[in-house]
Symmetry: C2
Subunit: 202 residues, 2 copies
Amino acid sequence: MSEKKRGRPRAFDAKVTLEKARDVFWDRGFAGTSLDTLSAATQLNRPSLYGAFGDKEALYLDVMEAYRAESMDVLADALDLSLPLRDNLANVYKGALKIYLHGETAARGCFLISTATAEAIQHERVRELLRRSLEDFDSAIEQRMALAVERGELPDGSDVHMLARLASAVMHSLAVRARAGDSRKTLEALAQSGVDMICGKA
Amino acid sequence: MSEKKRGRPRAFDAKVTLEKARDVFWDRGFAGTSLDTLSAATQLNRPSLYGAFGDKEALYLDVMEAYRAESMDVLADALDLSLPLRDNLANVYKGALKIYLHGETAARGCFLISTATAEAIQHERVRELLRRSLEDFDSAIEQRMALAVERGELPDGSDVHMLARLASAVMHSLAVRARAGDSRKTLEALAQSGVDMICGKA
DNA sequence: CTCATTTTGTACCGTTTCGCATAAAATAAT
DNA sequence: ATTATTTTATGCGAAACGGTACAAAATGAG
């Protein structure tokens, strides 16, 4: 698949480097993160970073895309079709909180909502990728909701389009509140209420 | 009320200055806004800014607090007690969208969610003020919900605490999605669905 | 072995950044 | 008028910033 290249081989794994870069961006934001900080965190000097990913914005966009892709994977796992919709949704929120509540000094929230929103005005490509990321997430949930109607888990004629976006809305709020320092208990209560709201208070 | 001070009088209105500073922070974020940019936008040279508000973080905190206070005023207006809860909630979202969809190059979203979240990890005071701002908003809505139960607008035994936080959650999502570039139509549909979800699909 | 190719590391460039030192300007008090 | 007090304006300076030039190092090809 990947032929061995000609010149000096890379001394780093691009995927791991993106994760390290992601973590500093996550804590400090895009504008608040210097290339020096990124260089230290990734253990790559700036020319290597530049050669591998381009300038700071290009690196950030790569990180965004990796986060989007991984989020979709996590979502797909949570939406295990062998489980009822209620459990699926609970798992989506549970998985989100597991990510959001991680953090050394404070809970870090969602990478996109916490850091990409800030840049969305000045950097059009960030805004566009953010929009698409949210949309993809909504669509995957909507698809599961449509199946739920077929299976009789949701009433016939349910507006699955809006229901999915309401389900996402709860997650967006979890992200914001986690970053603001709300307690795990508080957030889990909101998640539970979200599930009840969408699936009915069982 | 305000005695005339001794020295040279200020050539600017602090409130207006805070609004101008807020607008540049809103577009570019805290870390992405330089003192030069702030100086140009407020038409104050840096030493004047520094003398009046302190350093960049102190200025930003002042802007945050002003935004929080104004948001609570807008919310109080939307929660006009002479109207039904359904109309109140619709007005809350309508008022939010009016603010969020404003913007020269792109919709700016919510000032706090778009810019304060990014700084919340590194700047504890930002995080704390953000948390308190969200909480105040939740509490005001909860208070209105409690009245709604008394008035029979909501079923007896409704969990007004969680209902209020779900209502806020929809607004948080509107904020994120507006910043991401979602259309007015899309956002208005989500707002409508939020109202229906909380108040029942009338 | 020799050469072409790619990555790495050092060092550097010009610019921007934040914050302050200092002096001029504008007012109230005396 | 003189003085004390506060704000304004110019300009400085040390540090950090993003980005790159350049040569050394490490590999494959011939």
